[in-house]
């Protein structure tokens, strides 16, 4: 072998060039990208138009009277949504109180303690997935029959909270399970290999490691509950309420219900008021979703 000959003839450049440039028609590529872009635009533009519309329409009433004043039928120009705001907070607070521990413990049982792929687990799993797909109005019927009538809790904050808890329970369970599943197996193995019990492992390793994921899922579930009107309509929340709830058994109204009531009214002032309240509800929901994103980003998984 002689020394490497630097002057080796290169392959015909034109041929290489032809190969590198490729011969696939770019048309299909572009058409596909266009389809993706249009789909994205439909969603984003619709939302933007909606937000712009309600903001512009509700602008005159987007001031402090919205949360300092109570609803009023006779004097729309002075009506506010205070009782609906406090009602929403009461209902959501109790919903969180009922749904979170139940959902998280249920998910922990399914994910960490029951036999994987056992008959019981599969049965429960299918059930939970189906429950998540049940229309919310059906939960309203259940709440009316069971909590309001059978348990005689009536048209109270507690009835609404229990009903909404059932509604979001499947979402809490599913998202908690996802978060638990994302915790690597080797962390559990490491804990068990040190002589920790399964309960200690779940409580001291898996659950804390899954908390960011759980928090994200839980906030999203609660923001779903905040926006719900259908089941509450059935539970008799439509009544005209001009007072803040005073306790779990108190009467209440919520933001979606108040919006529903006002949009039913033909007077223009109430339409404006409804738009302003929609903006308020949207801000609340966006804030919650933002908090969820914040939690997720601040506690990036490190494994």
């Amino acid at each position: 072998m002689s020394a490497p000959d630097t002057a080796a003839p290169l392959a015909a450049p034109s041929q290489v060039q032809a190969e590198l440039l490729g011969s696939r028609p770019p048309l299909r590529d572009r058409a596909f990208r266009l389809a993706l872009f249009i789909s994205l635009t439909i969603g984003v533009v619709t939302l933007a138009v909606l937000i712009a519309y309600v903001t512009i329409k509700g602008w005159p009433r987007l001031n402090s009277t919205l949360w300092t004043n109570m609803p009023s039928i006779r004097r729309p120009e002075r009506a506010g949504a205070q009782s609906a705001i406090t009602g929403t907070l009461w209902v959501i607070g109790f919903t969180a109180l009922f749904a979170l521990p139940t959902g998280i413990l249920a998910a922990l049982h399914l994910e960490e303690f029951s036999k994987p792929n056992g008959r019981f687990q599969r049965l429960v799993e299918v059930n939970i997935q189906n429950l998540a797909a049940v229309p919310s109005i059906v939960y309203g019927i259940l709440g009316l029959a069971f909590f309001a009538r059978a348990l005689a809790l009536g048209q109270s904050v507690i009835t609404a909270s229990l009903t909404l808890s059932l509604l979001i329970l499947p979402i809490v369970i599913i998202s908690t399970r996802e978060a638990l599943r994302a915790v690597p197996r080797n962390i559990r193995d490491g804990s068990l290999a040190l002589g920790a019990t399964e309960w200690q492992t779940a409580y001291r390793q898996t659950l804390p490691a899954a908390i960011p994921g759980i928090a994200t899922g839980v906030i999203l579930a609660l923001s779903r509950a905040i926006g719900e009107a259908a089941p509450l309509l059935l539970l008799g929340a439509v009544t005209f309420i001009t007072f803040n709830p005073t306790g779990p058994l108190s009467g209440y109204t919520t933001l979606p219900i108040q919006i529903f009531n006002w949009t039913k009214d033909s007077r223009e002032e109430f339409q404006i008021l409804a738009s302003a309240t929609i903006v308020l509800l949207l801000v609340l929901l966006l804030a919650m979703n933002f908090a969820a994103i914040l939690i997720r980003n601040r506690t990036q998984k490190r494994w």
Binding site: P116, I187, A193, L194, G195, A196, P208
Partner: protein, 284 residues
């Protein structure tokens, strides 16, 4: 893993006297295995393993992939219990007691027989809390600060982390993490440490540190190590068990113990042709 032939280097390592000169017979027995079989469902991963493991020695399990050596290692602290469908048959006695006996608590077994895994699986906690975790869950009464220092010192990590005990264990390098896992393991005062390819994800320098550490720890603990790296087995272990994967009469692949003896003998004068082929790099 077809390593380069290692016989020359091996002689060097053994004559340098890093491994103890062990007798052919196992005298101070910690584990006795008789016809041990581990299976997953219908599949028998490893069959007919009979051997004894000596106290305060390093025993290496070597062999090609799929020979069941990791599976076998996980049987020693009942980690296989956690895999659905896994079954251990035959006898695996620890100081004469069958650890798969009806009254034996796997939690207690795992306290006595610690484990270090292939990938450093530190907990998402501080360095301090990683070490303190084992003693806490086992309700070991001790001055935790002293215990943490003692274990980190034994794991040759104290000098590197003593000012950062509150920092996340994830801030450590891979080799440091693996030494932290070892510190965490000895914090529950086990008698045996199982190591499942502890250096598989580490660079040569970190590997050398772990190997030094293993020789140190062998003064106090009985160590079982699974390794793909034959030089490692030759360097650190006192005794070596060579496993291979074979097809039985029905064409089912399973792991089998081929040869077991002092490392010096396995590497310099293997009795079995398959062992010789494997350690000389002709197969595996």
């Amino acid at each position: 893993m077809a390593d380069e032939p290692i016989e020359l280097q091996l002689t060097h390592d053994l004559t340098s006297g890093r491994a103890q000169q062990v007798s052919d017979e196992v005298n101070n027995v910690v584990f006795t295995l008789q016809d041990l079989r581990v299976s997953y469902g219908d599949y028998q991963a490893v069959r007919q393993v009979s051997l004894t493991i000596a106290k305060s020695e390093i025993t290496a399990f070597i062999g090609p992939s799929g020979c069941g050596k990791s599976t076998l290692l996980r049987s020693f602290n009942r980690m296989n219990d956690l895999i659905p469908g896994a079954k251990v048959e035959g006898l695996l006695a620890y100081h004469g007691i069958d650890i798969y006996g009806p009254d034996v608590d796997p939690i207690e077994v795992r306290r006595k027989i610690g484990m270090v895994f292939q990938k450093p699986n530190v907990f998402p906690k501080s360095i301090y809390d990683n070490v303190a975790y084992g003693p806490r869950v086992n309700h070991i009464k001790a001055n935790m600060d002293d215990l943490v220092e003692e274990c980190l010192t034994k794991a040759a990590l104290w000098d590197e982390v003593k000012d950062d005990l509150k920092k996340s264990a994830y801030a450590l390098s891979g080799g440091q993490q693996q030494r932290l896992v070892i510190a965490r393991c000895i914090a529950v005062r086990p008698e045996v440490i199982l190591m499942d390819e502890p250096c598989a994800s580490l660079d040569p320098i970190a590997t050398a540190k772990i190997e030094d550490l293993m020789r140190q720890l062998a003064l106090e603990y009985t160590i079982l190590i699974v390794t793909h790296n034959m030089q490692q087995a030759a360097r650190v272990s006192d005794r070596t068990a060579f496993f291979t994967a074979e097809l039985d009469d029905n064409g089912v692949r399973h792991g089998r113990l081929v040869e077991y003896g002092p490392t010096r003998q396995i590497f310099s004068a293997p009795q079995d042709k398959r062992t010789e082929d494997y350690i000389s790099g002709r197969f595996g």
